[in-house]
């Protein structure tokens, strides 16, 4: 079977090369400057995927060993980088509890919307930017979410309740779109086990550095959970042949029922101390 697998792997590799598959070759380093909107601002419009590679849709293909991807050239940049999280003491204990419970408490498992730093590096689910002179809309296929970010100089709304994704306002700092996000609900997660409070404040920076590449950096502050600001950096790559499709998390979310049964028997899944998986 593995001999057959090698033949298949070689066939897939050849097919990918023949069809310019981005998963098996390095893309060119530069593909032209970032496009400009009519108002002279950088135009972020487009469908993007978290990836270190330019070109077509990026995904893994099986390699020689079952479950292990075929080897491919490393990207020239890291797709996602995250600072160590400066938890307050109590929060580190809480975060460790979540990890020891293998993130069974993750609100995403219950299909609850999550905020931007988590929804941006979504790998196999694209995101889309739509830009006008007055606002930028970001559409997230994963969880079928959207944000409408005014860029006309207005401040935060004072008549909205706290929400899962917060209230966003944008402004241009040179060629970078800077988005300030506040007014979150308590209890969301920024990554598995990394929770936040209603004091979460995000400063997001979106920079389309060339035709293909859109850099994202979020500074995360939460005076109730963290001791200092920290950052996450994500590289998004344009995927011109892709489009967003419907994603309905609640269609058949059997995990909610499954988890309700699991929590009755934590010994089945809770991470054990030394030597346990």
């Amino acid at each position: 079977m593995r001999t057959a697998g090698r033949v298949v792997g070689a066939t897939l590799l050849a097919a990918c090369v023949a069809s310019a598959c981005s998963t098996t070759r390095e893309a060119p380093a530069q593909t032209g400057s970032a496009p400009r909107a009519q108002d002279g601002k950088p135009d972020l419009t487009g469908v993007y995927q978290t990836s270190a590679r330019r070109g077509d849709w990026d995904f893994d293909v099986p390699g020689e060993e079952p479950g292990v991807p075929a080897a491919r050239p490393a990207g020239t940049i890291a797709a996602v980088q995250r600072d160590p999280v400066p938890y307050q003491d109590w929060a580190r204990v809480k975060a460790q509890e979540y990890l020891d419970r293998r993130s069974i408490d993750d609100p995403a498992a219950y299909c609850r919307p999550q905020s931007s730093p988590r929804m941006t590096p979504t790998g196999l689910f694209p995101i889309q930017f739509i830009q006008t002179p007055q606002q930028v809309a970001i559409l997230y296929e994963y969880f079928w979410l959207f944000r409408v970010i005014p860029t006309d100089g207005r401040g935060h709304a004072d008549d909205v309740d706290p929400s899962f994704m917060g209230d966003s306002v944008g402004r241009w700092d040179g060629d970078t779109l800077v988005v300030d996000v506040t007014n979150f609900k308590d209890g969301g997660w920024l990554a598995p086990g990394v929770f936040h409070s209603d004091a979460l404040h995000l400063t997001e920076r979106y920079t389309r550095v060339d035709h293909d590449q859109l850099n994202y950096e979020a500074t995360v502050e939460d005076s109730k959970v963290f001791t200092a600001p920290w950052k996450i950096r994500v590289t998004l790559m344009l995927r011109e042949k892709n489009r967003l499709r419907e994603y309905s998390c609640m269609e058949n979310n059997v995990d909610m029922q499954r988890y309700q049964e699991f929590v009755k028997n934590p010994s089945l899944f809770v991470r054990k101390p030394e030597g346990a998986r």
Partner: protein, 140 residues
């Protein structure tokens, strides 16, 4: 005769603070055990092409001759379509396939489905790697 084969394998780690952009709707480790990889060949009896996870149901004839019913869980339809799958075409009820994944912690015939080998020998991924969505072992 179709056989049930288990292979023990280690999962390579990810460098600290470089986060792999693979997203899972829920944690792998709550339900599945990375120390219990499983390879099974059998006949598809049903397919759920649904969110947030697709499922493949199979009948697997064991060495004893007994037919065991299995359930496998993987990517939602959007991701499958972008990783080489086509609904009602790539696999159908009645097809014989070989699947690789990791078994449920409770020991039932339920598994996280990572890789499928089709009858013509083609390999495709049906789900993400082991460990996705758990967040690691240490808060950092």
């Amino acid at each position: 005769m179709l056989a049930l084969v288990t292979i023990v394998r280690l999962i390579p780690g990810v460098a600290a603070h470089l986060v792999t952009p693979v997203l899972a709707h829920h944690s792998f480790g709550v339900a599945f055990d990375v120390t219990k990889p499983v390879t099974v060949s059998g006949v598809i009896t049903a397919i759920e092409w649904m969110n947030p996870h697709s499922h493949v149901y199979m009948e697997v004839k064991e060495k004893s001759g007994k037919v065991a019913k299995w359930k496998f869980e993987g990517y939602p339809p959007n991701v499958l379509s972008r990783t080489g799958w086509k609904k009602d075409v790539t696999i159908k009820v009645g097809d014989t396939i070989t699947v690789f994944g990791w078994r449920a912690r409770d020991g039932s015939n339920f598994a996280h489905l990572r890789e499928v080998t089709l009858a013509d020998g083609k390999h495709l991924y049906f789900g993400p790697p082991a460990g996705t969505g758990e967040g690691g072992a240490v808060a950092k």
